[in-house]
């Protein structure tokens, strides 16, 4: 594929990437995304609805939905309740935190 559109202004994400805080924010977002995916998969493995997990951890379904989508930071007390209910083990934490770098896409040019 050839890039035929030369006159469009700069990519807003590429612009944001120039800010020195962007890398730190990307790392935080990557950790939230990985945690969200881990919670989602563990919840399904336990055959729990978001509603049921929310009830078991004394939070709301909306909060569980936001956590799974990687949209919000989790409070430590909530995380402890969730890991207890879902039985998080070392392998879960390894998947979340052993890759603290931002997610990188190995873009290939056609």
């Amino acid at each position: 594929m050839k890039d035929i559109n030369k006159k469009i202004s700069t990519d807003p994400i590429a612009e944001a990437r120039k800010d020195k805080k962007f890398l730190a924010y990307s790392e935080e977002a990557a950790a939230r995304i990985r945690l969200g995916v881990e919670i989602y998969q563990a919840r399904l493995a336990h055959n729990l609805s978001q509603q049921a997990l929310a009830a078991a951890t004394k939070t709301t379904q909306k909060m569980i939905s936001n956590l799974e989508s990687g949209n919000v930071d989790i409070r430590n007390s909530t995380l402890i309740k969730i890991k207890t209910v879902l039985g998080f083990g070392a392998e879960n934490w390894a998947r979340i935190y052993n890759f603290s770098l931002p997610i990188k896409n190995n873009m290939t040019r056609a």
Binding site: I4, N5, D11, R17, I33, N71, I103, K104
Partner: protein, 134 residues
């Protein structure tokens, strides 16, 4: 996988790029939001563009998927994309309130999906209409 923005040659814009530019937030909050959106797009890319719940989800009746990011307490940003050969094409983006009740609001949201479906068809007909995601 390569990631590109769909370019609409009638509007002469990339709808997703245009939306990302137009987000009205403080500099720091916008930076955080763009970092999160960028990471989610890359997460999708390393999963070969497949819908990977809970980060990206398939849509009923459409051939594209959506990535959700929370803008504020009551608003979620939806970024709509599809996979074309070995490329992720970012088609459109819009804001959806958590709670909407009126037919007017419902119709407005449905229109975004229909517009995106038009973009999808236009891209299939002319796959050179794109700009690279940098």
């Amino acid at each position: 996988m390569e990631i590109v923005y769909y370019f609409d040659d009638v509007l002469v814009i990339c709808p997703v790029k245009h939306y990302l530019y137009s987000i009205k937030l403080s500099h720091d909050r916008k930076l955080r939001l763009l970092a999160e959106i960028d990471q989610k797009i890359k997460f999708v890319a390393i999963n070969n563009g497949r819908p990977t719940p809970p980060i990206s989800l398939p849509l009923h009746n459409y051939n594209f998927f959506e990535i959700k990011s929370r803008k504020d307490k009551n608003t979620v940003i939806r970024i709509l994309y599809f996979r074309y050969k070995n490329v992720i094409v970012l088609l459109n983006a819009f804001e959806k309130p958590d709670n909407y009740t009126t037919n007017k609001e419902r119709a407005a949201i449905e229109k975004y999906y229909e517009t995106t479906n038009d973009y999808y068809r236009k891209f299939i007909n002319n796959p050179n209409n794109y700009e690279r995601y940098q």
